[in-house]
């Protein structure tokens, strides 16, 4: 931490330097907020992950690595000497990452044409289209998720139409499946992909596209070799924005997955609630944080790599 210059120690304080020192102090409210509101709670979680579970929730202030041990390993409950990977937890991690990547992919595939459509409208119309994209955000997440449940259920709209048109004989079990979770997450997070993609396309120099056609590139080649590289930063930013909330999703797997299988968010909630093992829950929360940080590192690399290439 820097301290304000003390005029008593320096023989002749540099006025320039002094004013810099005080200017720096102006940012202390912001730094304090960051420290107290962002890092503080995280530090508590980090510290709790190394303590022992208290009696029915809470923690005892005894150091213990047991929380972290249980994240990755399990003693066979029927043979405590036998330590193995905790496949139950690892399976939950894997499902979480896999569903989040699939969600990101679906959002990218659906988001690209959407963003392209908006970016190629006349400028005065674009604001309206963007505005329409944000409409789902006006409604609470939980309510939107229950609305999807209504669509998917046995006597819901989709099944009613499918049965009425004779495509299927009896209602499909759409609800309470990985498909339902994916559909819900893709729907909820799609705008987070469309907006950065649109921002990237908005800046796209369409003369380059024309140049591609002039040089006899096919439509596919122009898309692949001209447009996609130019909007890549939008893809990367959108993927991060979709991936991070997906990985911590709690409501969607609970409501649309019917609670049959857990995602990481649900596993953490289980440990803090019914499992009453806060240190294990805190360690699992730190794992979630580490996955998010890994994704961000990937993002920074991808973006910096892009800039490096351009400068080179």
């Amino acid at each position: 931490m820097a301290t304000p210059p003390d005029s008593a120690t320096g023989p002749e304080p540099d006025p320039q330097k002094e004013s810099h020192g005080w200017k720096w102090l102006l940012s202390t409210p912001a730094l304090l907020v960051l420290l107290v509101a962002a890092s503080g709670p995280l530090m508590i979680v980090a510290v709790y992950s190394f303590l022992s579970p208290g009696n029915v929730g809470g923690v005892e202030w005894d150091f213990s690595g047991d929380g972290w041990f249980r994240v990755f390993f399990s003693r066979d409950i029927f043979d405590p000497e036998n330590v193995s990977w905790n496949w139950a937890n690892l399976n939950v991690f894997w499902r979480t990452i896999s569903l989040s990547l699939q969600t990101t992919l679906i959002c990218a595939v659906l988001g690209f044409p959407t963003a392209w459509f908006i970016a190629t409208r006349p400028p005065e119309r674009r604001a309206l289209w963007l505005f329409l994209i944000t409409i789902p955000f006006w409604t609470n997440l939980l309510i939107r998720t229950f609305a999807i449940q209504e669509l998917l259920r046995g006597n819901g709209l989709i099944n009613t139409i499918l049965v009425a048109t004779g495509i299927v004989d009896e209602p499909l079990q759409l609800l309470f499946s990985n498909f339902a979770i994916l559909l819900g997450m893709a729907y909820v997070f799609l705008p987070l992909m469309v907006l950065p993609l649109y921002a990237a396309m908005d800046k796209l120099d369409f003369r380059l596209v024309e140049a591609g056609y002039d040089l006899y590139a096919s439509r596919v080649r122009v898309l692949w070799h001209v447009i996609l590289p130019l909007v890549k930063p939008g893809f990367v930013a959108g993927s991060i924005l979709v991936f991070i909330p997906s990985i911590g999703a709690y409501v969607t797997p609970r409501v649309l997955g019917g609670g049959r299988t857990m995602m990481l968010g649900n596993l953490i909630a289980l440990q803090f609630g019914q499992g009453r093992n806060w240190p294990l829950g805190a360690a699992l929360a730190m794992v979630l944080l580490i996955i998010v940080m890994a994704a961000l590192v990937f993002y920074l690399r991808a973006v910096n790599g892009e800039e490096g290439k351009r400068r080179g």
């Binding site: 029927f78 299988t261 009453r276």
Partner: protein, 342 residues
Amino acid sequence: MKKTLVSTLALLASAGIAHADGVLNIYNWGNYTSPEMIEQFTADTGIEVTITDFDSNETALARVRQGGHGFDIVVPTHSYVPIWIEEGLLQPLDPEIVTDRGNIAPQWVDVDFDPGREYTVPWQWGTTGIAVNTSVYDGDINTADIIFNPPEALDGRINVIPEMSDVMAIAIYAAGGDDVCTDDMDVLRATRDMLMEAKPHWLSLDYGTIDNYVAGDILAGVYWNGATMRARLQNPDVAYGYPATGYPVWMDNAAVLADAENVENAMIFINYILQPEHAAMLSDFARYGNGIAGSEEFMDPEMAAAPEISIPEELVSAGRFNPTCPQEVQDIRTQIWTELLQ
């Protein structure tokens, strides 16, 4: 530091509310407190009531432990009552004001979790059993096999409430265990294997499913008696069974917090709900029994005669109160649960 901050915030929040005598803050499960009864209480006593919801015993305990909560009355489940008492979070009921503890039905007075009812009075009690749609299933409804070894007709249409302790209890009893907190590995192994084999036959593990039972989307499941009754009132095919191998009985109890600000009002409220006509209002709303003798005659007649409330004589002994398990055992149970939902 954290404590000071929280209590300062609570102070700021409560500054808006007049600190008159006529206030009472109740901390209770959501959708559980009869608004009619509260209205009448305010009309009778002039005390204004504020209700705050919690969604689990763990949440309630964690919040009150922090202090500065501003609540006067809390309604924990029997298994948690000893913890609340041991940690000094409750205060003994004032015999000067709470004069009608004699109204408590005899079987609910000398309970293990609060012998002699020194700290708590009954709020509502119920059972966790089996809900089943009898239009597709005509076998015995008083068996856990409906869940753990389901017949063809119910396959894939079963919902199990994601309430670990209730489900583990029914499963352990069905697997031949006697004590829910057992550390008998043979019993636990049998329980786990039974759960793992049963899960592919289940549709979901979800809470709010009354509508699905009514619509016939869900044909059977582990469910609470009161919720099953609400479903049956809309669809007469839904029946409630008590697993003969054993099923959990629970009771939520009202108590006054040690750091309550409106102690006298809280004691007045406790005595108020001991009156049969008021306890009956609680039951009419939440659809559970209330443990107050003579309240039946004030209840909705549909309620007093309900099969979900009156347990068949031969199955009464299969109902058991579950304690909270020690952490080592709880960890094993959570591990089995995680394996089940991985």
